[in-house]
Point group: C2
Chain length 117, copies 2
DNA sequence: AGTATTATTGGCGATATGGCCAACAATGTC
DNA sequence: GACATTGTTGGCCATATCGCCAATAATACT
């Protein structure tokens, strides 16, 4: 494994980490519907607004969301709307769920249907 | 957000967390190629075998891999072979990369009710 | 100007995660 | 049985993450 591989794995791990929190997942799902300001997300999450603001900074830093200023408000919106969907796919491939076609390789994802919207 | 939602988000966060580590991602990629014993993964990762064993326990607990005993060896294999592929998809949807996979509709989030102005 | 609203940042304690060592368990070999 | 090989588990320490409070910034309103 060379240095480039190491960097790639680290970046990918960072991306996944940025998603790996229930509050951030909730926010991502809410943003899939439409853009929201911090207060609206804060109410849904049920945490302190400073906590939510920091969560959003993490998502932003990962390139998953972007913010648009509107007066004193910060509206956040997704950069790409299909993230949760792919998590669905990962979820479905685990043990306990029998949707996985035996022997499928990484290069041939098992169900196109799951990729489309 | 009801209790079921909260549980779902927690489970999903746990799943992502279990993937969100460079060593575990490397192992997942190696296992996409073929099953491997702990020693082989340990050599590739370059960490202590006890560390790798614990990483594998995390992946196993998440339902991403399963182990098959073979003498004193533990061979690990993927439960579903296509996890990395979906991470590719998430990666491609971030800012900096304009392409959103599968012609997703989510590129233009609806603008509805926002808070005040 | 003064006040209110919205959001961000710094800091701190609590908790979780990661990595190695030591010890142990299980199997195979002599 | 004695020993080697392969893995797992418990423990400990270092580091990272999380969540709230206090302070600050930026805009809007009167």
């Amino acid at each position: 494994m060379d240095a480039a591989d190491k960097t790639r794995l680290n970046q990918r791990a960072t991306l996944l980490k940025s998603l790996a929190h229930p509050s951030r997942l909730l926010m991502m799902e809410m943003l899939e519907e439409r853009p929201r300001c911090v207060s609206e997300l804060t109410e849904a999450v049920g945490a302190d607004i400073t906590t939510v603001s920091k969560h959003l900074a993490i998502l932003k830093r990962a390139g998953l969301v972007k913010d648009v200023k509107r007066g004193t408000y910060s509206d956040y919106e997704l950069v790409c709307g299909c993230v949760s969907h792919f998590i669905d796919c990962i979820e479905q491939g685990r043990s306990g769920q029998e949707v996985c076609v035996a022997g499928s390789a990484a290069t041939s994802p098992r169900q196109e249907k799951q990729i489309e919207h």
